[in-house]
């Protein structure tokens, strides 16, 4: 049972650390991110409170209220009803790996199935039981590469077309190692689909080279030469991948990637204003002692029956202490289950179909937008999956404001993260978008372009 602190206990704790009030504790958090003052009058009944709260909540709009062309790392896919139904079964409904894991054979089996599916998707040998989100998984990849070389290689080379928030998370992780250099994603290196400038940065001091596939701009780039260049210098290569695209594209494992990480949100997990999501972390067998997080293995019990266990736990922090390569000993169990159920329901054919629909619809949209006066594709020569960049005749913020009047959520305003991409919009199209939706979007773009 959850026991909240009494006012006396709170006073006592504040006294010990020398802070005047709870509010004072949070002054370091910018005000706009703090929990808002609800201003509810005292003595309301439960019925009254729920009606006040519903009114407040109605100020939010969800992706279901709009036709959404917003992606940039989180995608609005259809989720079969059975996913939620299975997720909410009492036997599964906990976010954690149980503390006596082997007693929960069902949970371990689900994680084992998840791991098997992830290796199937990526063409890699091993998957862990998952991380919090794609950004964490990417940072753990950098962490693993650093520890694989025992700190002797100091450079993490990042492509500028890796998700900006993932790069930020990698930097946050790496600041603990004061001699590590994270580079390659500067504006000067650029976002050209030709990775030549990035490859020039790879040297014998490079622990990891990380690229995204499809990249943050939705582009499908052949990374064969990057992998060769990295391996020639003895460095590891990490791919940040989009799982939906794996229904159509050559998997990272076939490129020779050492690590393939990504966000599993597109696999049956709702947008939910940003989380909980699902970090996918896969690698090659030779790195299995260095990978973070839980790992479920299949074995037989003393009667010879199939059974599941947590395996290779000696690399984890609760046993190896400060020598472990990561302090993450948990996983995103419920979301991993969602991805497992989603993929099982779709099957191989259904999954390919989703990828194909996304691809075809995105290309239909791109073609029609490119025909509009004032609009053009930013990378017309480079193939893309379900996301693409358009140059707009006006600032994206202005266009998106107009689109909202039509109940359309426009694409991501790239100038927020890339100063060199002023008036560039990243448009995502999933299977949920109809041809009619795309036609409406194109028409609204034309309108705002003319104003």
């Amino acid at each position: 049972m959850f026991t909240p602190h009494t006012p006396q206990e709170i006073e006592e704790m504040l006294g010990v650390i020398g802070v005047g009030s709870i509010d004072e504790l949070f002054t370091k958090v910018p005000e706009k991110y703090r929990f808002p003052e609800l201003n509810m009058s005292a003595g309301l009944t439960e019925l009254e409170i729920s009606s006040v709260l519903r009114e407040i909540a109605e100020a939010n709009a969800s992706a279901d209220d709009f036709i959404s062309f917003l992606g940039a790392g989180a995608y609005n896919h259809y989720i079969p009803a059975a996913v939620d139904m299975i997720l909410r079964r009492g036997e599964f409904y906990t976010a954690y790996t149980p503390y006596q894991p082997e007693i929960s054979q069902g949970t371990l089996q689900a994680i084992f199935e998840f791991q098997s599916l992830m290796t199937e998707l990526t063409g890699m040998d091993v998957s862990n039981a998952s991380h919090y989100d794609g950004a964490t998984a990417a940072a753990e990849a950098a962490n693993m590469a650093y520890h694989f070389f025992r700190g002797k290689r100091k450079k993490i080379v990042l492509s500028r077309s890796v998700h900006p928030q993932y790069r930020e998370t990698i930097r946050t992780y790496m600041q603990g190692f004061d001699d590590v250099q994270v580079l390659g994603d500067e504006q000067a290196v650029g976002t050209s689909p030709d990775p030549g400038k990035l490859m020039a940065l790879i040297d014998p001091d490079t622990a990891l080279v990380m690229v995204q596939y499809p990249d943050f701009f939705g582009r499908i780039i052949d990374y064969t030469k990057v992998v060769e260049a990295a391996h020639a210098q003895g460095a590891l290569v990490g791919f940040v991948f989009n799982p939906t695209a794996m229904g159509m594209l050559k998997p990272p494992g076939d490129f020779g990637a050492d690590l393939a990480v990504g966000d599993g949100q597109p696999l049956g997990i709702p947008l939910s204003y940003g989380g909980p999501y699902l970090g996918i972390f896969t690698t090659k067998e030779k790195y299995v002692r260095k990978l973070a997080g839980r790992l479920v293995g299949e074995t037989v019990d003393k009667e010879g029956k199939r059974a599941y266990v947590l395996t290779l736990t000696a690399r984890e922090q609760h046993i190896r202490r400060e020598r472990s390569t990561s302090n993450i000993c948990t996983n995103q169990g419920l979301m991993a289950l969602a991805a497992t159920v989603y993929l099982s329901l779709l099957g191989k054919t259904g999954f390919r179909q989703v990828a194909d629909l996304c691809y075809q619809k995105a290309h239909y949209a791109a073609e029609n937008i490119a025909n509009l006066e004032g609009y053009e594709l930013a990378f017309p020569e480079t193939p893309f999956f379900h996301e693409f960049v358009i140059k707009t005749p006006k600032p994206v913020e202005e266009i998106n404001f107009h689109l909202q009047q039509h109940w359309i959520l426009g694409g991501f305003d790239l100038s927020q993260e890339y100063p060199e991409l002023e008036n560039h919009m990243l448009v995502a199209v999933t299977e949920k978008i109809t041809r009619h939706d795309i036609d409406d979007f194109v028409q609204a773009l034309e309108e705002v372009g003319h104003d």
Binding site: R150, R289, A314, R315, I319, R320, R323
Partner: protein, 130 residues
């Protein structure tokens, strides 16, 4: 418990054997027995590295624990036992011969004087066993 007379021992259960002007290092029979089945050995150094007394030579994982092997003296690495990576069970079966871990050229052989002889080590183990 097998505690060869000719070796020197550290409190953290490493053994050292003087071989000409080189020293060979490994873990004791007592150490392997305490760890139980060893499933993985990672050598943290390679040929040519310079190491200081107290540095980590290797990490050992058994079915129930993970442990570090530390250098009882400073020097440069002459050779490491690469075979252990594929056959970590050798540390359980033959800790004093096939289970050798690192061969080192010591900077100062007198650093070995801080280590225990076989009898002192035997008494030390007995004390720890209670």
């Amino acid at each position: 418990m097998n505690i060869p007379k000719e070796l020197k021992y550290a409190r953290t259960d490493e053994w050292a054997k003087v071989d000409g002007d080189e020293v060979v290092l490994g873990i004791s029979d007592f150490a392997q027995d305490q760890l139980s089945d060893i499933v993985y050995v990672e050598l943290m150094v390679e040929e040519g590295d310079s190491v200081n007394k107290g540095d980590t030579a290797a990490t050992i994982e058994s079915v129930k624990a993970a442990a570090d092997v530390n250098f009882p003296l400073s020097g440069s690495i002459i050779a490491v036992n690469e075979d252990l990576a594929d056959a970590p069970e050798v540390l359980n079966n033959d800790p004093y011969n096939a289970g050798w871990m690192v061969r080192i050229k010591p900077d100062d052989l007198s650093e070995l004087d801080d280590m225990m002889d076989a009898d002192t080590y035997a008494a030390n183990i007995e004390e720890r066993e209670g």
